[in-house]
């Protein structure tokens, strides 16, 4: 479910969820304003994620930091205190407001370049419409983890091949084979620096997410029989 509402229970469940982010706070709420939707831009280091977000964001992409606290491997033998390490990891943030036909805010989240910080990937992907897995043909493998992650959590995604100057252009089936994609997963080419090209990738993603939402059992015509 793509809507991000602070009071709704929808989120990607994960083991060892950090306390606090799911706590039952009673914040003052007011009805009004556009719905907020999330989109994720994933892929390895240097594939063009920040450039991609910057091409459509109305603010320059922000680098937002998060501290990940990890239990240390060692326990202090004198005090029995388990050591914790805090790692700083940064992700990109951009924002795109749409006004017509209805006001909507799209928040764009870029995954950290290092794909070992999966904890933060869950936070970025929770409640998202879907993900753009950005790939550089010179090292497709840098984006394999991103595609696997999306498949595992059931997040609709498209593979967008960022066509760097001078990089070899592969036919679509070669990209599909390399990523072992399902037949319905879209593969598109893009120039992460060009607004219309990036917008086209987002269109493809939302179209794909819509098709996936319509294909879910709740939307099949049979479900009315079950409801009756």
């Amino acid at each position: 479910m793509p809507v991000s509402r602070p009071d709704s229970p929808m989120r990607t469940p994960r083991p060892g969820e950090r306390p606090g982010s799911g706590g039952a706070g009673r914040a003052l709420r007011a009805v009004g304003g556009p719905a907020v939707m999330k989109l994720v831009v994933a892929g390895g280091f240097g594939v063009g994620k920040t450039t991609f977000i910057g091409a459509v964001s109305e603010i320059p992409p922000l680098s937002t930091e998060e501290h990940l606290t990890q239990a240390g491997a060692a326990t202090d033998h004198l005090t029995g205190v388990e050591h914790k390490t805090t790692t700083t990891v940064a992700f990109d943030f951009g924002r795109l407001s749409l006004d017509v036909p209805v006001p909507l805010e799209l928040l764009l989240f870029g995954t950290p370049g290092q794909d070992r910080f999966l904890d933060i990937w869950y936070d970025l992907a929770a409640g998202a419409i879907g993900a753009v897995v950005l790939a550089d043909t010179r090292r497709l493998e840098a984006s394999f983890t991103a595609a696997t992650f999306c498949e595992q959590i059931g997040l609709p995604f498209v593979v967008a091949v960022n066509e760097f100057d001078g990089a070899h252009r592969y036919p679509e089936h070669a990209i599909r084979d390399a990523f072992a994609l399902r037949p319905n997963t879209p593969v598109v080419a893009c120039d992460a620096r060009a607004t219309s090209s990036v917008a086209a990738v987002l269109l493809t993603l939302v179209q794909h997410a819509l098709a996936a939402a319509l294909a879910r059992p709740a939307h099949s015509t049979d479900s009315t029989l079950l409801d009756a």
Partner: protein, 147 residues
Amino acid sequence: MRPHSGPKPLSAGASVEVADFVRTYTLTGGRTRPRHRLRLETVLELGPGRPGPALPLECEQILVLCRIRRRSVAELAGTLGRPVSAVRILVSDLLDTRALRVPVPAADSAYIPSSDPAAGNDPSVKLLEAVLAGLKTRFPDAYPQAG
């Protein structure tokens, strides 16, 4: 607290920044958990309440930013250059005093008639259709390309 005697992360791209962590810890009065459920995408706007006295500078900055326009937790943290975990706690304090509040979109805010009868009234499908229509309107020259 014994600073930083645990193992270091392996990646060169990540760093253990003790000074940074201590600074954040001080900023939030030693607290590490917010009382409110705040996601990265939770949006904050100014509320009717008054913030308490002796407000940390960062809280004042948050109020200034949200007075200009509503902002998400992720945007506030990125703009302030503070970690999300610290900003969650500061925002939580500001929610307690109603200096900030969480706007919730009206249930029908994204309602547009669905072209597909099978879609029914599911807001997720409606919202996706609204996003699609919004993107097409905003970027009329965007043509999906085959890979």
